[in-house]
Amino acid sequence: MANTNAQPALRIENLRKTYRGGIEALRGVSIEVARGEFFALLGPNGAGKTTLIGIVASLVNKSAGSIHVFGKNADEDPAGVRSQIGLVPQEVNFNLWERVIDIIVNQAGYYGIPRREALERSERYLHQLDLWKYRNTNARALSGGFKRRLMVARALVHNPPLLILDEPTAGVDIELRRSMWVFLQQLNAEGVTIILTTHYLEEAESLCRKIAIIQHGRISEQGDMHELLESLRMETFVLDLARPLSETPPLEDFALRRIDDATLELDMCRGQNINDAFAQLSAAGVQVRSLRNKSNRLEEIFMRLVEEERNASRTHAS
């Protein structure tokens, strides 16, 4: 028997999705999210985030690949997998004509929680999310931010160890966004594994320890948030040499790579001085003929995301 405690909260292997009509939304995505992690799936619109989450939450049929949630295979034990996941979807998907309390209690019922217990739990989450005063209100009367909170409360009613949120703060005002962040951090501290998708850089950066960047249905980067941001702050220069070189000259404090006889690559972190590097190179007898900035792949990704974010907030403001 596999020790389920050692199993990651979510393991996705080589997930593919081709929609009818031929759109390839996912082209072989593999992700692993450890227990207790706060994980961001960052990517521009149309990258495949909602598709990926839809497959994990059994709202979308996959074309290929496998999914394990806390060690349970989604194909073999769908009910077991579903009972471990709480989902906050991107778009409102509750019955607008139902009362807030009924929406939550009914969802609990679908998870097999009897009414009395469901009422107790609803009360707790409605208080925590400031929804208690609206419990008897029809859901359609709630503002956008409170609709989102209602979906969070609904997603938590069965106490899932894994909470997945699809763009939880898109289109929500700043104040509400902040309070949502605090709430999610609290949940995470209590041991709930959280995965959120976002195209707000700031959100991913301030909340998440681990990140995957998805573009055109592929994961382009995956790893530790800090390391990723570090590498973002780093600049790489390509040095053309006047004379061929057979080995990499040793440089203190700088990362230097020999690409071929006449080319070196130099990584510079923020705060470092390029003069220091040239002084050391001269001392080693290396003559640099020209220097150019190597385009940073990550930086390009982030620039695009920032651009999108700006556009989005502009449309929201107008």
Binding site: Y19, R20, A57, S58, L59, V60, N61, P78, A79, G80, R82, S83, I85, L87, P89, E91, N93, F94, N95, L96, D102, N106, Q107, G109, Y110, Y111, G112, I113, P114, R115, R154
Partner: protein, 260 residues
């Protein structure tokens, strides 16, 4: 583990049933009143006004003869309409996703919606029976035949409404089948006449209409007279129910109409 799942599925099933029943009763002006008014008009026009000129049918007053057919018509259309509109609404406004993400078994979902449809079909059927009793002296020859036929029929057409909702893409699709398939089959199923009155060739054609068997069985339950064999009728009702139920479960499993 197994017991736990069964219990959870029971809780989920009853959650759907309670929700559906509350919905039907909350909007009773839309769900219960119109069919009752419609049937009362049928009794007035076909029973009192025209019926008095028709004379006896199979030895009964015309009004008495058509009453079981009208009751059956109410059961059928209300069971069907309830499930198709409720489940399509859930699909259209996407709150069906609340069910899809939950561990609730497909059979519980299907049975839950069926129970809702059966509740409305049988409720309206019961009220129409009471209305009929105001207009005519309706005998009750075989109560168990009445109960089982009503249950089987409402179950069958609830599944029918569920299937319709699965395939429907827009609100128009919700009314196409009731208008173009269900209503003709009900009318041709001998609500207003005994098929013995038809020329032999049309009697044969009518026999492929499954609704004929249900209407006729219910008539047998009330009046004790029938155009067709009882065992045949039950076999057809049970057979259709099992077939449609299995089909709906299979489609749910595949996610047809629900998952892209």
């Amino acid at each position: 583990m197994h017991l736990e799942r069964t219990r959870a599925n029971w809780v989920g099933f009853s959650t759907i049933v309670v929700k559906e029943i509350r919905r039907i009763l909350r909007i009773w002006v839309q769900t219960v009143v119109p069919p009752v008014i419609q049937m009362t008009l049928y009794f007035l026009i076909f029973g009192s006004v025209i019926g008095s000129r028709v004379g006896k049918m199979n030895g009964y007053d015309y009004m008495t003869y058509i009453a079981p057919g009208l009751i059956m018509m109410s059961v059928i259309t209300n069971s069907y309409t309830n499930v198709v509109s409720s489940f399509f609404g859930a699909k259209f406004s996407r709150y069906v996703e609340e069910l899809m993400i939950s561990p609730l078994a497909n059979a519980s979902i299907l049975l839950g919606y069926m129970a809702g449809g059966m509740f409305r079909g049988l409720l309206v059927g019961a009220i129409v029976t009471l209305v009929a009793a105001l207009f005519t002296n309706l005998p009750i020859a075989h109560p168990w035949v009445i109960v089982t036929t009503a249950l089987l029929t409402s179950a069958m057409f609830s599944v029918g409404g569920f299937l319709n909702a699965l395939f429907a893409k827009k609100f128009d699709d919700v009314t196409i089948i009731p208008t173009f398939v269900l209503t003709p089959l009900v009318y041709l199923g001998g609500v207003f006449y005994s098929i013995a009155l038809l020329p032999p060739i049309w009697q044969h054609v009518t026999r492929v209409d499954p609704l004929l068997y249900m209407i006729d069985t219910l008539r047998y339950g009330f009046l004790g007279v029938s155009d067709i064999a009882l065992t045949e009728a039950y076999a057809i009702m049970v057979g259709f129910l099992v077939l449609l139920f299995a089909l709906a479960l299979w489609l749910l499993r595949r996610g047809t109409g629900l998952k892209s």
